[in-house]
Amino acid sequence: MKAGVILKVAGKLLFARWKQTLIAAIGVTFSITMFIALLSFMVGLNELLDNMILNRIPHIRLYNEVMPSQHQPITLSKVHQRRYNFIRSVKSVASRQYIYNSIAIQNALQVDDRIKGIAPKISAQVFFHDGPIDITGVVEGIDIEKEQNLFHFREYIISGEPENLNTVGNSIILGKSLADKLQVSTGDVVRVTTASGTHFVMKLVGIFQSGLQDIDKIQSYTSLATARKILNKPNDYITDLQLQIKNIDDAAILSKEFSERFGTKTDDIKTSNAQFETGSFIRSLISYSVGITLLIVAGFGIYNILNMLIYEKMDTIAILKAIGFSGTNIKSIFLIIGLSIGLFGGSLGLLFGFLFSSLIDLIPFHTASLPTITTYPVSYNPIFYVIAISFSLITTYLAGWAPSRKASKVDPVLIIRGK
C-alpha cells in the first residue's frame, strides 16, 4: 500500500514534465545504443581477426627441430661434472626431424581431457614447376577431417572440394597466389619436386585463400598418405602435432608439460602470438571507455533534470512532508524517478542498440583476404546487453542519489512560511 503511494507520486512527478523526462531518457537511450553498437562491432571485428589468425594457429604445437644436443659427453662425465666446461662450435648432427613414437603420443593425448583435438601434420619443402621456372613452396600433409574440425579449414577454400584429398590419389590444394603464379585451376596438373630430388605429378583438387598473402604464396596441402609418399617415409611419420586445448589460458603451462613428457619441442599460442591478444584487449578497452563516457554524460543530464525538478517541486515536497511523508519516502520518490528514466531509456537503448548492430551486420564488406565474409562482422553476445542495462541503472541511480538526498532534506517550514 505504502510502496504503491510512493510509486504513484513518483509517476505523477515523472510525467509532470514529461518532455524533460523524455529528453533525459533519450540521452540514456542514445548512450546505451552507441555502447551496444560500438561494442558489438568492435568485438565482432576482434573475433574476425582472432578467427583469421588465432583459430588457424594451433594452441600448442609439438615438433622436433634440428639443433645441437644440449647434453655433450663431457657434461655427462662424472670426472668433469663439477667443473666449468666450454665447448665451442657445437654442430647439429643429422637427427630425425619427425616426432618419435608419434602414435603412442597421439594415443596419450587423446585421453587427456584438457585437449579439444589433435591434428597431425607433415611439413615438407618442395619446388613447384611452371615451365622452366621453379617456385619454392611448402607442402603440408594433413588429415582433412581433423583440420576442418580444429581450424575450420573449409572456410578458406575458394574452389574445389577439399575432401577429394582423401579420394583422389596424389592430389593437392594450392594457395591462391601460388595457383595464380603457376597458372593452374582446379582439375589441372601440378609438377612438384621434393628436396631429395624426386618428381611428382599432382592433381589440383582445390584452391584456398587464407587472407595472409605470405601463406597463400607458398603453402599447399595434401593428404598425410600422399605427403609420406612424396617424402618416402613410413606410415607413422609425422613432423608436427597440432593441439587445440579447451582453455586457451592454459597453453603455456600445458606446452611446458608436454615438452617434458614427450621430449619434443613445443610452441604455444600465448607466447608466440601475444600481440594479437594485446590488440584485442586494447580495442575492447577503447570501446568500453567510449561507451562508459557516453553513459556518464547521460548521467549528468539526469542529474541536472532531477535537480531542476526538485527546485520546481519544492512546494510539492513541502506538502508531502507536511501530510506525513518522511525524508526517506521523499528520497525513494526521487530515486524511483531517476531509476525509471534509466530503465526506460536503457531498455529502449538495448532495442535500438540491437537494431543498430543488426544494421551494421547488413552493410556489405568484401575483402580479398576473407572470402567467407560478406558483411561487417558483429557480435551479438548477450553479455553486452547485461552490462549496458546494469551500467544505465547504476549511472542513473548515482545521478539521482545527490538530488534525492537534497529533496529529502528540504525543510517544509521554510517553504510553507517562505511565501
Binding site: M1, K2, G4, V5, K8, V9, K12, L13, F15, A16, D315, T316, A318, I319, L320, K321, A322, I323, G324, F325, S326, G327, T328, N329, D411, P412, V413, I416, R417, K419
Partner: protein, 226 residues
C-alpha cells in the same frame, strides 16, 4: 469532552542567526477535544512559529509538546512523519495542493500514505468529505484548474481524510475574499459543532478570531491573554 488533545509546556524558541533573538518565551497552554481555538497577534509576534512547532515540522525548540498525551520530543523524523500523517491535518494560507494530482487524488493522498484502509475505502471517504464541503463535483478536475476558495475547501477535505486529532490552520482565510472566508469559517464551525473536530487557527483576522470558542492572544513571543 475534557480530553486534552494538545498540550504545550514551557515552549521557547530563539533564532541564532545573526544574533540570538528570542521568538517564543515559555508558552504553555492546552487544547481539549472539540475546541475551536484561535491564536492571534500582530505580525512577528511568533504565532506562526508556534504553529509550526505544534505541527512537529519544526523540532528546534525548548520545552515539551504533547499530542494525545504523547511527548513529541525525542521522536525520530519517521515517527514524526507518522504523527503528522495520522493525527494532524493542515490547512495553509496558500492552498498547497499538488498540481499534478486531481482534486480527489489530493484528498486521498494522506489516506493512501497511512494505509489503514483499502484504496476503495479511502476513495469513498474522500468523496464523502468533498460532498460534505459541497465540492464533490470537482473531484476529477486537476487541482490547478479550480478557484482559490475551492482549493482551500479541498485542502480542508485533505486535512480531514485521516480523521485527525487536531486540524492546524495557518491564516486559512488570509488569501481569500470575504465570501469565501465566510464559507471556510462556516465549515470550521460546523466541524466543531457536528463532529467535535478540534481546530487550532492562527490568524490576524480579529473578526474571524472573535467567533471562535477561545482566543489565545500573543505579543512578543508571550501569551498575553487566554
Amino acid at each position: 469532552m475534557n480530553e486534552v488533545v494538545l498540550e504545550a509546556r514551557h515552549i521557547s524558541k530563539s533564532f541564532h542567526d545573526p544574533v540570538t533573538l528570542p521568538i517564543l518565551k515559555d508558552i504553555s497552554f492546552t487544547i481539549k477535544k472539540g475546541e475551536f481555538v484561535s491564536i492571534t497577534g500582530k505580525s512577528g509576534c511568533g504565532k506562526s512559529t508556534l504553529l509550526y512547532i505544534l505541527s512537529t515540522m519544526d523540532t528546534d525548540y525548548d520545552g515539551e509538546l504533547f499530542i494525545e498525551q504523547e511527548n513529541m520530543k525525542g521522536k525520530t523524523e519517521n515517527q514524526l512523519a507518522y504523527v503528522r500523517n495520522a493525527k494532524i491535518g493542515f490547512v495553509f494560507q496558500f492552498h498547497y495542493l499538488i498540481h499534478e494530482f486531481t482534486v480527489i487524488e489530493n484528498v486521498m493522498l494522506p489516506g493512501l500514505k497511512l494505509g489503514a484502509h483499502s484504496e476503495e475505502e479511502v476513495r469513498q471517504r474522500a468523496i464523502d468529505q468533498l460532498r460534505a464541503l459541497d465540492i464533490h463535483m470537482l473531484a476529477n478536475k486537476k487541482a490547478n484548474l479550480i478557484s482559490g476558495g475551492e482549493k482551500q475547501r479541498v485542502a480542508i477535505a485533505r486535512a480531514l481524510i485521516n480523521s485527525p486529532s487536531i486540524v492546524l490552520c495557518d491564516e486559512p482565510t488570509g488569501n481569500l475574499d470575504k465570501a469565501n472566508s465566510e464559507v471556510v469559517f462556516k465549515i470550521f464551525k460546523h466541524l466543531t459543532r457536528e463532529r467535535q473536530q478540534t481546530i487550532l487557527v492562527v490568524t490576524h483576522d480579529q473578526e474571524f478570531a472573535a467567533n471562535t470558542h477561545r482566543i489565545i492572544e500573543m505579543e512578543d513571543g508571550k501569551i498575553v491573554q487566554k
